[in-house]
Amino acid sequence: MQVNGCEEGVAGMTLAAYLAYRKYQPDRVVVECNQKIVARELYATWLLKDTDVLEIVTFMGGG
C-alpha cells in the first residue's frame, strides 16, 4: 500500500495502530484513504488493505 506517496508493508494493521507505529499524533491529523476522508471514530477499527492509497496530513501550529 501507499502512504503519502511511499510504499508501506502494513496491510492488516488498523489505521490507529499505523498512526501510533509511525508516531503520528492522531488528534492533529486528517487521513484520506482512497480519496475519502476517514472519520476519526473509525481509526481504531479501520483495517488497511494492500491496495489502499493513504494521504495523512499533520497540522502544524500557528495562525
Binding site: V30, M60, G61, G62
Partner: protein, 228 residues
C-alpha cells in the same frame, strides 16, 4: 452570543454627502475586475474560522477583492501579543476580534454583508455556524483545533471546499510556502513542516504569505478555478 453588524455608518465617521454609494463601489471594482468577476465575488459568502494572523489578513484581502459576504467566527479578544502579525492595532485591545475586525472591514466596504459570531467552534456547532457559506477558511492557531475543524467540515458540510493553513512559523524562505490540493474539497497552504519553537515564532511576513495563498485560493475557487 451572536451578533450581526450591518453597514454601520457610525463605524466610519463621514458626512452623508461624502459617503460613496454602493453603486460607486461596484463601479470601481467592475472597472478593475470586469463585471463577471465582480458579480461572482460579490455574490459569494465565505466563512472564516479563527481571526488571528491568518484569518484577519485573509478577511481583509477578500473584502478588498470585493467578496460580498463574510461569516467571521472567533471567541477571542485582541491582546498586545497579537499585534506582531494580526490585522489589529492598539485601539482594538480588549475588543472581540470579530468586532475589531468587522469595524475595519466595514471601513473598507460599508456594504459588506457581515455576520459575526464571537463563539468557540466545536464539532457540534460548526455545521450550523458555517451553513450557507460557499467556502470555509480554516485559520486557527492550535493544531488539534485545525484538525478538528477540517475533519468536521469534510464530514458535516458536504460540498463546501475547505482552504486551510499549516506550516508558517519562523523566517524560513517565503518560497517554501505553497498551496497544495489534497482532494477535490481540501486545499492546504503553508510549508507543511515549520513548527513554533524558540527563535521560530510567528512573524508577520511569513504569516501574510500564507494568508495571501489562502485568500487567493478562495478567490480562484469562487471564480470556478479549482487547480492550484
Amino acid at each position: 452570543m451572536y451578533l450581526k453588524l450591518l453597514r454601520l455608518w457610525e463605524v466610519v465617521e463621514m458626512e452623508e454627502k461624502d459617503r460613496p454609494t454602493e453603486a460607486a463601489l461596484d463601479q470601481v471594482l467592475c472597472e478593475r475586475h470586469g463585471a463577471r468577476v465582480h458579480r461572482r465575488l460579490k455574490g459569494a459568502r465565505v466563512g472564516i474560522a479563527g481571526l488571528g494572523g491568518l484569518g484577519s489578513n485573509i478577511a481583509m484581502a477578500l473584502t478588498r477583492a470585493g467578496v460580498g459576504a463574510l461569516k467571521l467566527v472567533d471567541f477571542d479578544k485582541v491582546e498586545l501579543s497579537n499585534l506582531n502579525r494580526q490585522h489589529y492595532s492598539l485601539e482594538h485591545l480588549g475588543l472581540y476580534k470579530t468586532e475589531a475586525l468587522g469595524r475595519q472591514l466595514l471601513a473598507v466596504n460599508p456594504y459588506l454583508d457581515l455576520a459575526l459570531a464571537p463563539v468557540r467552534i466545536s464539532r457540534s456547532n460548526l455545521a450550523q455556524l458555517f451553513e450557507g457559506c460557499d467556502i470555509l477558511c480554516e485559520a486557527f492557531d492550535v493544531p488539534e483545533n485545525k484538525a478538528m475543524l477540517v475533519n468536521g467540515a469534510l464530514e458535516l458540510l458536504p460540498q463546501v471546499p475547505v482552504v486551510a493553513g499549516s506550516g508558517i512559523a519562523g523566517y524560513g524562505p517565503a518560497n517554501e510556502i505553497i498551496t497544495r490540493r489534497m482532494n477535490a474539497r481540501l486545499y492546504i497552504c503553508g510549508d507543511n513542516h515549520s513548527e513554533i519553537k524558540p527563535e521560530q515564532g510567528l512573524m508577520a511576513p511569513r504569516v501574510l504569505v500564507c494568508a495571501a495563498h489562502q485568500a487567493n485560493m478562495i478567490v480562484r475557487l469562487l471564480l470556478g478555478e479549482n487547480t492550484i
